[in-house]
Every structure is written in C-alpha cells, then in structure tokens.
C-alpha cells in the first residue's frame, strides 16, 4: 500500500510563504507528477512528504496514518535526489546496502536484494566501483537502485533526469516508466519539464508559486486546461493566446472578435460573459491549418520558419504585435516577411475569461 494524502499543507520560511494550502491525494500505485516552473515549491513539497522538512500547517497521511510529525526514516519512503546524493566514499554495493544495514537486515537478505536490484537496473558490473568512477547515467541507476532495494511504500523522485544529456534522458524516462509498471509502487515525481510529465504521469499536478493550479490526467490537462497558466505550460510549443472581445454570448456559444480580422464562434457556456468583455482565445500550434482561400482566414506575417522535415514550425505575427506559432504538416516554403493565411478551427479553440479561467463547454 502506498496512499499519500496531504490536507491543507502550508510551509513558510520566516514570513515568506512557499506553499499555500496544498491538498492532494496520491493513490496506491499511482505515478503522480508534480510539474511547475523552477522555484514554485515542488522540491519543498516533496521534502515535506519525505519528512525531511515539517509543514507549518496541515496534515500528511500515509495509508491513513498521520505521519506529519514522524521522522523521515520511519515513513518507509525512498527518495531519489536531483544530484543523486550517492555517498562518494562508499562503493556502489555499500551505497545500496547502507539503508538496509541501518535497519539491521540480515546480511543474506541484503545481498539478495542488491543482486536483484542490480540485475533489474543493470548495475551489476560496477558494484565495486566508487560513484566517482561512474558516468552520469550509471550514477542515476545506482541512485534509483538505492531506492529500489529499500522496497519502500512509495518513491519520491526530485528531477531525477535533469542532470542527464538529452538522449539519455529520453531512454531513462522510458526505463523509469517500465520500472513503475513492474514495481507497481506509488511514485511522486517532480519535474519542471512538461514533456516528462506528459509521458510519465498517471496524473499531473501543475503548480505555480506554491499553489496547485490543476490536477488531472495528462490528456485532460492538454485538452481542457483550467486556466491560462496551465494552458501555457502544458504542451510544446506553447498554446497561442490571443486577446479577443466578446461580441455576443449565450449558454451554448460565444462569438468573439480578435486581431487580424479574427472572428470565431466557440461552443462554450458563455452565460457568465457579457458582450464587450475582454477574453483570451487559446489555440494550439498543431491545430492551426493553412487556409485554402476560403472564408474565416486570419492574415499573418511570417517572422521565422523552421523546417523540421515532417512539419514546419512557423512563427508569425497577426495585426502587428500578436505573435502566433503554427506547426504546419508540410515541408514549408514560407519565407520571412511573407503574408500567410491561416485557419484557426473553432472546435479546437479554448476560451478564457478576463480572470484567466477556462470558460467551460456545456
């Protein structure tokens, strides 16, 4: 079992509040990814769960038992640190054994667990080396191995891939996903990289400035971001956000006018909107299409075109200073400064009110 429940967690350093009223429920066996920009308090939250730090308010439960005041050692969790934090003066084997020796596990069982973990993570060939003699990827495996041998109720991982190079990051990411499937243990995974979050998570928690912005499955967050921050954070390239004015609003649809002759009817519940209200229209770069000369096109000017082969990333401006990125499914011939007619499909649009909150569809 590895169910973690946070209730109204606060953390302040002196007068500065780092975490505001965080409530969260991590299911048994779930891979929960905490994502958000640097400095938003992800590591702090993880350290609170680990027991390395105490909240200034709120309650932490593991499997229904209040552990808010319980020490890190007695929570039965294992943590993988961003810097790996391997003990430099011990061999890999000693690194793995250290936590087990501390709970006075019999030698035979320690050996067996190390053998098992090192086979699973393919670190057997360098069990007798020091961490200083390992490459980054190997250190990463040892750090994970040190957590695995403990057989914890849950894993806590703080940006475990951020020190690896791009290629290794992708392969290790896949291995982590496989490891999670195999162990079926709860994992709380912290990252600032939304691609990692999308690919690994059962559920994503988007955080900003010590607050939870949205919790949900990756595709739910992608398809229905709750506010402008989540809309801009999830998905790469970022969602395009254009300022619009409400022309008319009803319970089933909202008509908006935007820059560059943009005029659209979005099928959302606009009963809280009035004509003349400011709003923000969101559309993902991949949803934008090239106009075939029909009605409703938006006139844009190309500022940069990146031909990637299967697709072309076009950076453009509408009506002077509204930037737009479009990913077009063809090998581009667009050149800088050239005009371009683009279609923004209304069924792919997201509408946010003046407070930045999503206007839900019916």
């Amino acid at each position: 079992m590895g169910r973690i429940t946070l209730t109204n967690i606060d953390r302040a350093y002196g007068k500065v509040k780092i975490l505001h009223d965080i409530s969260l429920d991590v299911g048994d066996g779930e891979m929960l990814v905490l994502v958000g920009p640097s400095g938003c308090g992800k590591s702090t939250l993880l350290r609170l769960i680990a027991g390395l730090d105490r909240p200034t308010g709120g309650k932490i439960e593991i499997d229904g038992i209040d552990v808010t005041e319980v020490s890190a050692a007695r929570r039965g969790l294992a943590m993988v640190f961003q810097s790996y934090a391997l003990y430099p003066h011990m061999s890999v084997r000693q690194n793995l054994a250290f936590g087990l020796e501390n709970i006075r596990m019999p030698k035979a069982e320690i050996d067996q667990r190390i053998a098992e973990a090192s086979r699973m993570l393919e670190i057997a060939p360098y069990l007798d080396r020091r961490p200083g003699q390992l490459s980054g990827g190997q250190k990463q495996r040892v750090a994970i191995g040190r957590a695995v041998v403990r057989n914890p109720t849950a894993f806590l991982l703080d940006e475990p891939l951020s020190n690896l190079d791009a290629e290794l990051r992708i392969s290790t990411r896949a291995e982590l996903a496989a490891l999670h499937k195999r162990l079926a243990t709860t994992m709380v995974y912290v990252t600032h990289d939304q691609v990692e979050a999308m690919t690994l998570a059962d559920r994503i928690v988007v955080m900003r400035a010590g607050k939870i912005e949205q919790v949900g499955r990756p595709l739910d967050l992608y398809n229905a971001p709750a506010n402008l921050f989540v809309a801009g954070f999830i998905g790469a390239p970022r969602m395009n956000l254009l300022p619009v004015k409400v022309r008319s609003a009803s319970a089933t649809q909202v008509d908006v006018d935007g820059p560059g002759g943009l005029s659209a009817t979005v099928a959302v519940d606009g009963s809280a909107l009035k004509p003349g209200d400011d709003a923000t229209l969101g559309i993902r770069p991949h949803d934008i299409e090239l106009s075939d000369g029909g009605k409703g096109a938006v006139e844009a000017h190309v500022t940069l075109a990146e031909a990637l082969g299967p697709e072309t990333v076009v950076h453009a401006t509408i009506a002077g200073d509204n930037r737009l990125v479009a990913v077009l499914k063809h090998q581009g011939v667009e050149t800088r400064g050239a005009p371009l007619s683009l279609v923004l499909p209304p069924e792919r649009m997201h509408l946010f009110d003046s407070a930045g909150l999503r206007v839900a569809s019916r």
């Binding site: 350290r47 680990a50 390395l52 020490s71 890190a72 050692a73 969790l77 294992a78 943590m79 640190f81 961003q82 810097s83 934090a85 391997l86 003990y87 430099p88 003066h89 250290f98 936590g99 501390n102 709970i103 040190r146 403990r150």
Partner: protein, 253 residues
C-alpha cells in the same frame, strides 16, 4: 685623608718549575661527541619522557579530532539560533593567548584534581578554535542532500556524523591531525606548569632539567633537541603532500 695601602713586596719563588713547551696538550678537542646522544639515554630518563610525550600527543590529537569535528558538524550542518554568533565566539578565542589565561586555567585544572597528571596536560588543549574553524569550513562543502539521503536511509544523526561526514572530511582531519601533533609535541609552558613530578615530564619539560640555576649543559640540551625534532620532521616529510593539498582544499592559506 686617605692613606696609601702598603703593597706587599713579592718574594722570589723558592723552586722554579720548568715546563717544556713542546709537551703542551690541547684542552679542547674537535670530534664527534656521540656520548652527548648516548649519555642522556643512560642517565637521563629519556625513554620515560618520550613515552609521556607520545601519550600526550596521541591522546590530545585523537580527542582534538573527535571534539572539534563534532563541534564543526553541529556548526555547519544544523541550523539553530545563535549559530553564527557561537562560531564567532569560538574563533574569537584565537585572540586570547595562553599566557593570559594561564593562571585561571591553572586554578581550574587544580580544582578538578588534574594537577600533576598527563590528563591535566591533555584536556585543556583539545578544544582548538583553529581546528573547529578549519573543519567547519570543509564540512560546509559537503552537500546537504547527502545528509538527507542518509536520513532517508534510516541513519541516525550519530551515524550521519560517523559514517558520512567524518569520512568525507578526511582531508581536513588529516591537516588538523598534523597541526595537532606538532602543537602538542612542542608544548612547553603548559606541561611545565601542570607537571611537577619528574616521572611525568614530557620531553620538552625534561630537557629543561639540563638548564640548571648555575650551569646550563648545552651539549645535552642541543643533542636532545635534535632528537625531539625527529618525529616532527618525519611528520612533515611523509605528510607534506597532505598538508599542502589539504590546506588548499580547506580554503585556508
């Protein structure tokens, strides 16, 4: 008026001693006086003094390393109110020389009954501000995540100190060990004050017995000084590499 004293009139000697100038012998000779080295080993209690010196130096160094590293651990890895002030206070004691606190220190040692015992020489010297400062600066460079990892690994705070921090601070400990050996080996004033029984003398104090009130036996003092320097020289010869790299590593110059 002052009278002139009568001068005695010198009489001619009765016998005349004649000495052949060719038979004269030199009073001084030049040569290797190895007996200056061997004599003290026979008459002077060199072996006993050496044993005392070695005991004092080894014990004081061990206790210095232990206590100073514990203080440094607390001052570098725990956050508590007044931490920086405490550090300042400790380093501040560097400005107070031994001669200033000699008398109060003597009263303390006498009050706890350590006068005339080797522990009375050892214990007052073990808390060195230099050592605490040097070790703390080094321990600050050990990442906190390592300690957190050990906490997750069920290590007690003592185990963190003993199994993580101490081994990682080994270069700084080596430097302090060398300093401590040299300091304690060469100590003279404090052992002289504390020790009055001859069989407890350390080498440096023992050597002093050659400097009497009326006569200084320079030949023995100088010979034995050479002998007492040997351990310190050896320490430097063999650990030179550690001293330079360790001092550079601790950021102390």
């Amino acid at each position: 008026m002052v009278g002139h004293p009568q001068r005695p009139v010198a009489k001619a000697p009765k016998d005349i001693v004649k000495v052949n100038i060719a038979d004269r012998q030199p009073v001084r000779e030049i040569g290797f006086a190895t007996e200056n080295y061997t004599e003290p080993f026979v008459h002077f209690d060199f072996m006993r003094y050496l044993r005392n010196s070695v005991f004092v130096t080894a014990m004081a160094t061990l206790i210095t390393l232990l206590t100073n590293s514990m203080a440094a651990f607390a001052l570098s890895k725990y956050k508590f109110r007044g931490r920086d002030f405490t550090m300042l206070l400790i380093v501040g004691t560097l400005m107070v020389p031994l001669s200033v606190i000699l008398v109060p220190l003597y009263s303390v040692v006498s009050a706890v009954g350590l006068l005339d015992s080797l522990w009375g020489v050892i214990l007052p010297t073990v808390a060195t501000p230099t050592g605490v400062f040097l070790l703390r600066q080094y321990m600050l460079t050990i990442p906190d995540e390592l300690l957190d990892a050990a906490r997750m690994d069920n290590a007690s705070e003592w185990q963190i100190y003993w199994r993580i921090v101490l081994p990682l601070a080994a270069p700084a400990l080596a430097v302090l060990a060398i300093f401590s050996v040299v300091w304690r080996w060469n100590d003279f004033l404090w052992p002289l004050v504390v020790l009055s029984r001859k069989e407890l003398y350390t080498l440096q104090v023992g050597l002093n017995t050659y400097a009497g009130e009326l006569n200084v036996q320079w030949h023995y003092i100088l010979a034995m000084t050479v002998v007492t320097m040997i351990p310190v020289v050896l320490v430097f010869v063999f650990l030179q590499r550690y001293i330079t790299s360790g001092i550079a590593g601790t950021g102390l110059k």
